[in-house]
Amino acid sequence: MSTSSFAIDVPASLLDRARRGEARAFEQIYRLFERPVYSLAWRMLNDADEAQEILHDAMLALFGKLDQFRGDAPFWGWLRQIAVNEALMRLRKRKLIEFTDEVPEPTDALEPEPPRIDSRDLEVALRKLPTVTRSVVWLYHVEGYSHEEIASLFDKTVSFSKSQLSRGTQRLRGMLTVVEGGLAYAG
């Protein structure tokens, strides 16, 4: 089962009504996915205005391509791919996808039990990651993309995806220090 916030079942009848151009059906689909699309875009680009534009462009593309959706995969996955592509297009425009496949320094293994992490601290730490690193971390951990899929999206190698994930995870760990009862933002 997917952990993605996009994983919402959309009735075929609703899609049919949207294909016929019914405004109310468009509205319902929009309302269902507005927050998942906006959140994904915001997490990847860390910019409210750009996230708003991605939401607009992704939904416009969705409604324009609805006739092309054949239904052989979940609708939400199809829409999520459109949203990811829109976000990646913005990253390419920013010329941010120009990374070497750096391998970060290893760190020592730590505690056996998963610590608790405060969501506000995590929000702050996440925003401090480089854009591409944050995007890879988000696509892998939250949206459930594989390294192979991420490599393909970024037009890079699998080791690029792995190194970005490793780098991001380590940086997040570094920013979230161990305190009593869990991890907290260390600045």
């Binding site: 151009g21 405004a23 507005e34 409210a48 708003q52 416009l60 760990r173």
Partner: protein, 191 residues
Amino acid sequence: MPDEIDRISALGGAADDRALAEALRALPLLTPQRSTLPALLALRQAQARRATGRRPNWMAWAAGVMVIGLGLLVFKAQTGDSGHPTGTDEPDRLQALMQRSLEWETALRRLEQQNMPMDAGTAMASAELEDLISLTDLQLGATENDTQAQSLWERRIRLMSRLAEVRSQPAWDKAFPDQSPTLLSAAYPIN
């Protein structure tokens, strides 16, 4: 290289990674400050018109949208227009409301771009109205009923017209210092 990276990742602490992934997934969804739906629906409408061969007059509309937005503001101030289109059937009425909503969105964006200085009272009133618009958007997302949707769209339009009024008040006061500052606000009861 991939093997080496796998080894490094494993050294990082699997429990930590698991906790981090879980915490990332538990972060709340974010809500856009303003819905882009009215603009999308209007665009779809224009595309549909083009597809059926009817001339959309879209460019003229786009060029004159600021005039329309501000014209509506003045018109509503003078007449107390409640935002109800008349003489249309239900789907057309919904479309008309969405279109009107888009016009207000555009007018508001233009006002924002002017970056007019705002005093604390105006900023607070703007923030409250924006919250109410967001709340209306949430309610619109939850409703399945067309009649209820229409009344929510009407409310959205009233709130946006009020927001435009609040945001343009500083410029109004500057241009007409002797005019009563409550001239516009009296025309917009929000229910």
